[in-house]
Symmetry: C2
Subunit: 127 residues, 2 copies
């Protein structure tokens, strides 16, 4: 029995995948994986997600170079979420050029952008 | 316009909610919130989730006492996940009596339980 069989994939065949920086412990991204994405993540030791918008496997960093190298993979108690501890190549996880996708903080009832852009997305996603 | 209106609730009216210990930065739980759960989480400054299995609001800790006091709330770039930094009362987030729900680690192709039970669940969920 494969570790993949222990995951009760939801009706869309997905589970949540949280990526956390292995050094700073900052939560970087929350994305989705299907069975093939988790399989490839383990094989390549690099995060591979399922892009719901593009409806295809998304090898994180395939365009940006901002690969997430896998340090550790954990599963939660009801097996519907995985936690990846990763080395975030380039120190940028978000497509906006920020370290983490969680750059907005609730302050006085509003989502305030509190983290800086480290690199212009136009420079990250060169044509 | 409310901060709640900026969340593109999925077709079930939910978003993912990751809770992270504000001190240790350990990821404790991944759960779901609907609009009312996020509203109450902000009002009470304690994590309130939507239980998909019980189909009702789940005031985290309502039975166990293992409340998650909110220190900070963040929203990700595509606004489909929130990150709560919390003070985990009792130091136990998981219904199995462990600190974190992510107590299984992928080792040699198997999910190995690597974290100890800190308190017997039968003592946590007293009738």
């Amino acid at each position: 029995m494969s570790f993949l069989d222990e995951v009760p994939w939801n009706r869309e065949g997905l589970i949540s995948a949280v990526a956390q920086d292995a050094k700073s412990n900052r939560v970087l991204t929350v994305a989705w994986m299907n069975r093939e994405a988790l399989k490839q993540t383990v094989e390549k030791q690099q995060a591979v997600y399922w892009s719901r918008s593009r409806k295809r496997l998304w090898r994180k960093g395939e365009e940006s170079g901002h690969v997430q190298k896998v340090v550790e993979i954990r599963l939660d108690c009801d097996a519907d979420a995985v936690l990846l501890k990763v080395e975030q190549v380039g120190g940028i996880a978000c497509h906006t050029g920020r370290e983490s996708c969680f750059f907005r903080k609730l302050e006085n009832g509003k989502w305030a952008t509190v983290d800086p852009v480290l690199k212009d997305p136009e420079l990250i996603y060169k044509k």
